[in-house]
């Protein structure tokens, strides 16, 4: 039986896998110790659990467990990596290279550093959302200490050429950092293979709990250091103070273990369902997919339904939870900066819907989503003066609209 509402917004967060929850529960009540308590079994038990989780996480990304620093999530990991490198390597240089389509956790961290005198270059992306390697290489200078490029984009799911980008950074003596929040646990991510020096990721995007994340910090070739952004008891090799969130970390570890075992099968199944959804929705006229369709996450698609406004559309897609790049969903009244960075008009940005499938998504749910979305788009087009003008052959861009 189909249960409503349907969650197709897995890029925003994911449900905690019941197996993850089960692994976590004892660490709230029975084994509640502080992992930093060195002198009694309560502490030992907690520490053991943290060590085990650290290994489960390290194994998933091809790291050494000593290279995993626990944080409260990807936002904190991004802050720690970027600010931490800027401070630690201040004598080496003062320049950071990143993309215009990064998550706010990276962009706003860079903006904050600019106020402290760091130079930041925001490299634009091409119309398919991927960075042109030559443009990236041209942005890197002798003064560049860090190149930070996201693994997979949260809005359109495109996967950047990470191996090539890290090679460019390293050739110029810069460190390479990636925000892999959307990629880890969904597609294979290996820090050795991709030449990653620092990597931010988070449990709640991969069927783990919210409020726990990690920063991978390379220990050799080269040994990378970051200046702590949180002062205190010197936990996590001095890079991140604060009592560890033991149940959360246990859950994060379990989530990584499950992902390691099931990621490939999930990806095959979900990309088939995603392709079905996309193929059916593209049967609607004046409908386009945003971003590169080959190099992207298996469970994500971002579609613009022209002449229909995204928030209005979501209201019509009752019982199907998705998200939109429309300004009407944001406080700023600006449509998605990611879609704008691809060169999409504001109008197309307003008309975009992101679908994010997940481990528990069924074919029945996808069929329902196809039907509901199709119906809602058709209904709203009946209501849309722009659709009517389009049918009459009026060029909407030629109309002199008054701007607020």
């Amino acid at each position: 039986m189909l249960k409503l509402p349907i969650f197709l917004d897995h890029n925003s967060t994911t449900p905690t896998d019941p197996r993850v929850l089960e692994a976590m529960l004892p660490y709230f009540t029975q084994h509640f110790g502080n992992a930093a308590s060195r002198n009694h079994p309560f502490g030992w038990r907690a520490e053991e659990a943290v060590d085990y989780a650290r290994e489960q996480i390290a194994v998933l990304v091809g790291a050494d467990e000593r290279e995993i620093i626990f944080t409260s999530g990807a936002t904190e990991s991004d802050n720690l990596a970027i600010k931490g490198v800027a401070e630690m390597y201040a004598r080496k240089g003062n320049h950071i290279v990143t993309l215009t389509t990064e998550h706010k956790a990276v962009l706003d961290t860079c903006r904050a550093l600019e106020k402290r005198g760091i130079k930041v270059t925001y490299v634009p992306v091409e119309s398919d959302g991927l960075v042109d390697l030559q443009k990236l290489a041209d942005a890197v200078t002798d003064k560049t200490i860090l190149v930070s490029v996201m693994f997979a984009n949260n809005e359109i799911g495109v996967i950047q050429p990470i191996k090539e980008i890290s090679a460019i950074a390293h050739a110029k003596g810069a460190l390479f950092m990636t925000d892999a929040t959307q990629a880890v646990g969904k597609v294979p991510v290996d820090v050795e293979e991709y030449g990653i020096d620092l990597m931010a990721f988070t449990a709640h995007k991969m069927y783990g709990p919210k409020g726990v994340g990690a920063l991978y910090v390379r220990r050799k070739n080269p040994r990378v250091k970051v200046t702590a952004q949180m002062d205190g008891g010197g936990h996590e090799r001095g890079m991140r103070s604060g009592t560890l969130n033991v149940p959360g970390i246990v859950g994060f570890g379990k989530a990584c273990e499950i992902a390691k075992n099931e990621m490939v099968d999930d990806a095959i199944r979900l990309s088939r369902l995603r392709d079905k959804l996309e193929t059916e929705l593209l049967k609607l006229p004046e409908t386009v997919v945003n971003g590169n369709r080959e190099r992207r996450l298996p469970h994500t698609t971002n579609i613009s339904f022209k002449f229909v406004e995204g928030e209005g559309l979501m209201m019509g897609m009752k019982d199907v939870a998705v998200s939109s790049g429309s300004a009407c969903t944001s406080a700023s009244l600006e449509p998605s900066y990611v879609l704008k960075a691809l060169g999409l008009s504001d109008e197309l940005g307003h008309s975009s819907i992101r679908f994010g499938l997940g481990r528990f998504t069924t074919e029945e749910e996808i069929d329902y989503a196809i039907e509901t979305t199709t119906r809602a788009v058709n209904q709203l087009r009946e209501l849309s003066p722009l659709w009517e003008m389009h049918l009459e052959g009026v060029d909407i861009s030629k109309i002199e609209w008054a701007h607020h």
Partner: protein, 142 residues
Amino acid sequence: MAYSQKIIDHYTQPRNVGVLDKSSPNVGTGLVGAPECGDVMRLQIEVDAETKIIRDAKFKTFGCGSAIASSSVATEWLKGRTIDEALTISNMDIVEELSLPPVKIHCSVLAEDAIKSAINDYRVKNGLPPIEQAESVAVSAR
């Protein structure tokens, strides 16, 4: 943020969707907003030449649910009023009627602009001076 029952009602069963003959001297058309801003509203009135009473009103809106509901409410309220009475409809009446939250007030402003713009179009067509209004009104090239 959940939608109010009235917004949902007007969104799912919008009143007076459609078109009136733009070229008719009895029809006033207001086209406001801009596609880049995510909202475009077209509101039309058909006015009785003798009594100046609005006989019919139609709309089409590209925008969020609140914008659609605001224009739907506006058309309901316009019918049966004279064009002078219609000018007294304010966006705050719509906000109240639909319980719009603060972030959605601009959707109701758009509806008020659309009403004024339609009335002005009618007035100008019929040799009356236009009334003062905010400048956020589209100049149709059609």
